[in-house]
């Protein structure tokens, strides 16, 4: 158990987008997200006076912006030097590492209030460049050198899942259909159109009238194969964005808000970077290990979770996540998704903000971006996408690479 309780007293993010932030730099996106977070603090916060340390996740700034040394860069552009400032990196879970570091700084008593966040400025490179940047999260020796891509690695996991559980690609399409619908309710999402709307629009151009979403996803040339069996709509987009949150100790949290989120549990796990070194392909050991640690610390069970943000960089990742987190039984995702269990009005709403699929996945910003959604859902400020039931416990699950890193955070009100 932590020495001191840790609270979230504010959260903010830029919109995640493939176009909106053209011409901006990562440091500017961090400032934009921070100013949003400042606005969210009920009783006000003075950055210079109150923030004691900065932890920022950014996966490959070297490739996108020819820039390392992101910690002090962020601090100086936020007017926070000479305070301690760090960059954290575990691929797509980089800002979850920032969150973990911030939590330990508060829980240990070293700091009373810290800024945690993340950013990725991906559209500086074309699709080839981004594909290569992302491939750096895989094992260079046994994967990227052989021609593996990230969609390819998750396609290998999908095939293994389909084979083991007799599931189909068609059943998996419930994931993008749900997440695009949720994204349509989120003004900060990269994609704000439902797949039904897209089917109509694309169909009109093709001169085809699609029967339903699945007919479109299956038969439109627009939904081209990226890495068989995964197609374009099985993949998250290339997004720019930043997200920030303020963590505070129990001593000071209520000076800033009467309704902070309380951290109930935290867990992180690691596994072999190379898929070929894993024990199994139909489950991520790092997720299971992180979840076990977080549930134990929180003293709760998966059934106590009211709303969850899980890592859906590719459709199959969402199925693996909900099963490895124990939200749904092993091998039962196809049935649960057919029944709409994870919809906003379902038993266990998952990725109410659109997930990585529709909200977008500016890699380094994703973990704290998820925290932004849980901040809103638990405080009842999620607007049109507010879950129907009373949300008391929210869970965040963020994966690095093809599962070599995983983070799980559980928050309560």
């Amino acid at each position: 158990m932590p020495v001191r309780d840790v609270y979230v007293i504010g959260a903010g993010m830029t919109p995640f987008s493939g176009k909106l932030h053209a011409g901006k730099t990562g440091r500017e996106l961090l400032v934009e997200a921070t100013l949003e977070a400042v606005k969210s603090v009920d009783k006000g916060i003075d950055l210079k006076r109150d923030v004691e340390a900065v932890f920022v996740g950014y996966f490959t700034p070297e490739l996108y912006e020819h820039q390392s040394h992101i910690g002090p860069l962020a601090a100086s552009w936020l007017g926070l030097t000479p305070k301690p400032a760090f960059r954290t990196e575990i691929a797509c879970a980089s800002s979850s590492a920032a969150l973990f570091a911030g939590i330990t700084a508060i829980a240990s008593g070293v700091c009373d209030l810290v800024l945690v966040g993340g950013v990725e400025k991906m559209t500086n490179l074309d699709t080839f460049g981004v594909t290569e940047a992302l491939a750096m999260a895989s094992d260079d020796l046994s994967e990227s050198r052989v021609g593996a891509t990230f969609p390819g690695l998750y396609a290998l996991l999908a095939q293994a899942y389909f084979r083991r559980y007799g599931a189909t690609w068609e059943q998996l399409q419930k994931v993008p259909i749900k997440n695009h619908y949720n994204g349509s309710l989120n003004p900060k999402a990269h994609f704000q159109q439902t797949i039904a709307q897209l089917a109509e629009k694309v169909g009109a151009k093709e001169g085809v009238k699609y029967r339903d979403e699945l007919d479109f996803l299956k038969n439109s040339p627009f939904n081209r194969v990226v890495a068989y069996p995964l197609r374009l709509f099985d993949c998250c987009p290339i997004s720019d964005g930043a997200a920030v949150a303020f963590l505070a100790s129990s001593e000071v949290a209520r000076k800033f808000t009467d309704t902070p989120l309380r951290l109930l549990g935290v867990g992180m796990g690691s596994d072999s970077v190379a898929l070929q070194d894993r024990v199994e392909l139909t489950s991520l050991r790092a997720t299971r290990s992180a979840a076990e640690m977080a549930y134990k610390m929180a003293g709760i069970e998966p059934k106590d979770v009211d709303v969850a943000e899980v890592h859906d960089c590719f459709t199959i990742a969402e199925w693996l996540a909900v099963e490895d987190l124990g939200l749904i039984g092993k091998g039962e995702a196809p049935k649960a998704y057919a029944e709409g269990l994870t919809n906003i009005d379902g038993e266990i709403p998952v990725n109410t903000d659109g997930g990585l699929k529709a909200k977008g996945h500016p890699v380094g910003a994703t973990g704290v971006g998820m925290l932004n959604e849980i901040w809103h859902q638990l405080r009842g400020t999620a607007g049109k996408r507010q879950v129907k039931k009373k949300a008391e416990v929210g869970l965040i699950h963020n994966v690095g690479g093809s599962g070599a890193s995983a983070a799980v955070f559980i928050f309560g009100r």
């Binding site: 020796l141 052989v146 021609g147 891509t149 190379a274 894993r278 392909l281």
Partner: protein
Amino acid sequence: MAENLIALFKEELAKGKLLGSKCKNCGAAFIPPRKFCPHCGGEAEAFTFKGEGTIESFTVIHVAPKQFAGSAPYILALVRLDGGAMLMGRLQGFDPSKPEEIPLGGKVKFEPLKEKRGEAEEVIPSFKPV
């Protein structure tokens, strides 16, 4: 055990030999060779694989990184070798446009594959049906 295990692995790979390790503690096998078991952390010892195995999973890469774009679409497979280790490699002898004809669980055999990388050449693992 030599210290430059990966260099040795690459050298032998080009000659058609698959060097790896087996864990003295849990018996897990893996490629390339190394000192610690990635599963249980136990001490590992050298093991040479025969190169035959079955297709554990596969994908067809259509959107490839720039240096592989000329070869796309190509098939990548994770093969479970006799002896236990998994190895990723290019799958040859199948039509990438007919993935439904590629048999999961099908028997394949290892073969080193030379590929151009700009001016240089790289040897990577590949598999062919038995």
